[in-house]
């Protein structure tokens, strides 16, 4: 079949037919690489680019584990008693809350927070040219800022030396992930990812639902012990009959303070259309009194602000994780000098889900380095790190701070199969093949230009 020869047409000349297996021989000989394998930021990718996580994701298994263990103890030890004495709704509500919390957490952790791809070499060169010639920007090389007017207010855009572009407003560079993230809120070690434009709503629903869950469990456990005591027993005896309840009580008691505080803080942020980053830096601090007139992004209406942040349209992922690199193309978005592909072996190793999650667990156990974790020192309960590089850790992360503290859990070991569908959909959302198919020519011409010669290049496979 491979040797069929037409008298008139040589299919290899156009190499669009499936019979021309010989022409892109090199392409087929080496597996076409996906773009996530050449991603310049410090992220880990699972399930062939569908899931994204920060490299330092040490505490996520702890979070997940704490949630699952506490809920498990609740269902196992408290629910039977409460179902018997009260109502069957209790485990039902608890179950729903638990599922919602876990779904939100995983969604927050594995969603691209709004990472901006780095500027291409030509873009960077163009910007450099503009900086040198324009009179309004500061002429001295650092710091490079550009002032623009947003809603009649002056906003300074900073130049990111890593990503080689002027950061859009509200974008910040996370030093832990080494990416610019749009509408950067903070890097949350508890969820193992940055919280930015695309996953803020999941993060918010996570902490709100977690508040409800911990309050619910706390209330139920207290009711449980009270009921046991009311039957004439002493409280010590009641506790002895149900020791798990004490564990749950302790965990929930400490969780509630921090989680409720965090929820309240983020509700305030949502209502005033602020990010944690802006709040901590005091970018729009009320110099003009109590109104939030400093913030050019805020609508005057709290409800509108909430809708914009939580119910706005879901922006697409700007990094094309699952697209294929053209065979002769290095990093699709190169830093100014390098075009070659640097070896990103950690990512190819992390291709296998179980392998990488084992890494995660090991790292979590090994590392006591919470340098991304929760500096105290802000008057509000905002225990999460802004992108201050190398932020010194809090003395130790006290149990009462932090977004949530739940223990590690084994279900993390194989996250892919149960979530493969959602992730597949996520990948379809994030990287829509229609974009590539609709305009194949720019990619072609671009890749060809990198190579340097035009003719006789077969059409590289689109997917």
């Amino acid at each position: 079949m491979k040797n069929c020869e037409y008298q008139q047409i040589d299919p290899r000349a156009l190499s669009v037919s499936p019979l021309s297996a010989q022409n892109p021989a090199e392409t087929k000989a080496q597996r076409p690489r996906r773009k996530w394998e050449a991603f310049p930021g410090k992220n880990r990718f699972f399930c062939d680019g569908r899931l994204i996580l920060a490299r330092q994701n040490g505490v996520l298994p702890l979070t997940l584990g704490l949630i699952v263990v506490t809920s498990g103890l609740f269902f196992a030890f408290d629910c039977p008693f409460l179902v018997e004495h009260l109502t069957v709704c209790i485990p039902v509500i608890g179950g729903l809350l638990f599922l919602f919390v876990v779904a939100s957490l995983l969604r927050t952790s594995f969603t691209d927070p709004g990472i901006l791809p780095r500027a291409t070499a030509e873009e960077a060169a163009d910007i450099e040219r503009q900086i040198d010639t324009s009179g309004s920007s500061t002429y001295r090389p650092p710091p490079r800022t550009k002032e623009i007017l947003i809603n009649q207010q002056v906003v300074k855009l900073k130049y990111c030396f890593t990503c080689k572009m002027f950061r859009p407003p509200r974008t910040s560079h996370c030093s832990l992930c080494d990416n610019c993230v749009e509408r950067f809120d903070h890097h949350c070690p508890w969820v193992g990812n940055c919280v930015g434009k695309r996953n803020y709503r999941y993060f918010y629903s996570f902490i709100i639902s977690l508040s409800f869950l911990t309050s619910f469990i706390f209330g139920c456990v207290v009711t449980h012990i009270t009921l046991r005591t009311q039957a004439g027993k002493s409280i010590v005896l009641a506790i002895q009959e149900s020791p798990a309840s004490v564990v749950e009580l302790v965990i929930c008691f400490f969780s509630i303070w921090s989680i409720l505080g965090l929820s309240g803080f983020h509700t305030y942020l949502v209502a005033s259309n602020l990010t944690t980053n802006e709040d901590i830096k005091g970018s729009w601090s009320s110099k003009r009194g109590a109104e939030e007139s400093g913030n050019p992004y805020s609508y005057s209406n709290i409800l509108t602000n909430c809708c914009v942040t939580l119910c706005g349209p879901m922006p697409p992922s700007l990094i094309d994780r699952r697209g294929f690199l053209a065979p002769d193309e290095g990093i699709p978005v190169a830093s100014a000098s390098e075009i070659e592909l640097p070896p990103f072996t950690p990512k190819s190793e992390a291709n296998m889900c179980t392998q990488s999650t084992k890494d995660v667990l090991e790292r979590m156990l090994r590392s006591s380095d919470f340098h991304g974790l929760c500096p105290s020192g802000t008057p509000k309960t905002s225990p999460l790190v802004p992108e201050v590089p190398g932020a010194p850790p809090a003395a130790k992360p006290p149990v009462s701070s932090g977004c949530s503290r739940q223990l590690a859990h084994g279900a993390v070991v194989d996250p892919c199969p149960p979530f493969s569908k959602s992730i597949r959909r996520d990948s379809l959302h994030s990287i829509n093949p229609a974009f590539r198919l609709a305009s194949p020519s720019p990619t072609l011409s671009r890749s060809v230009l990198v190579v340097g010669d035009g003719p006789d290049v077969g059409f590289p496979p689109q997917h």
């Binding site: 156009l14 906003v155 572009m165 959602s422 974009f435 035009g454």
Partner: protein, 170 residues
């Protein structure tokens, strides 16, 4: 004589199929000829249309006409393209009842609804991709220009590639 590909077919059948194949390949060659020409043309320059942040973080591009394009394309046409793109992006990011309902539904179903549904933004992005393709084919390619879909540049810039004017002289 028997064609190796169609050992059992009759002569006429073989020729008919082959003719169809030839036509198909010729048509493909025609559609790809534009890309062929671009592959053979050298890039003279690239112009970047930056984002316009005056109305906030919404995705809008500057309508200022770049000086490098003065000889290549009509200013009105260029501004028309940019303005249409801006409108399309505004539509994608619009806070209407549709996006609100979509958001609420997603929240209620623990975000599993996106397994079966495409978001509104993505639908509009597809529209944008089609519009850019159409603009390229009708207006920009004949002038030796090429618009790159901003989504391929992280919605930061609209990259306009100017090709050297040798294969397009008619």
């Amino acid at each position: 004589m028997s064609d190796p590909l169609f050992p059992d077919g009759t002569c006429t059948q073989q020729h008919a199929v082959k003719n169809r194949y030839q036509t198909e390949i010729f048509n493909m060659a025609e559609t790809h000829s534009l890309q062929d020409m671009r592959q053979q043309a050298a890039v003279a320059a690239k112009v970047f249309v930056q984002r316009d942040y005056t109305s906030g973080t919404m995705c809008q591009f500057q309508t200022k006409f770049p000086s490098e394009l003065e000889t290549k394309i009509d200013k009105q046409q260029f501004e028309e393209t940019i303005r249409t793109l801006n409108n399309l992006y505004a539509e994608a990011e619009k806070l209407g009842s549709q996006s609100f309902i979509e958001g609420c539904l997603a929240c209620l179903t623990a975000y599993t609804v996106f397994l079966c549904m495409e978001t509104h933004y993505e639908k509009v992005l597809k529209k944008i991709a089609k519009y850019i393709q159409e603009q390229n084919d009708k207006i920009y390619a004949p002038r030796g220009l090429l618009l790159t879909d901003p989504i391929e540049r992280g919605l930061r810039v609209i990259e306009i590639t100017i090709y050297e004017d040798r294969s397009f002289t008619r």
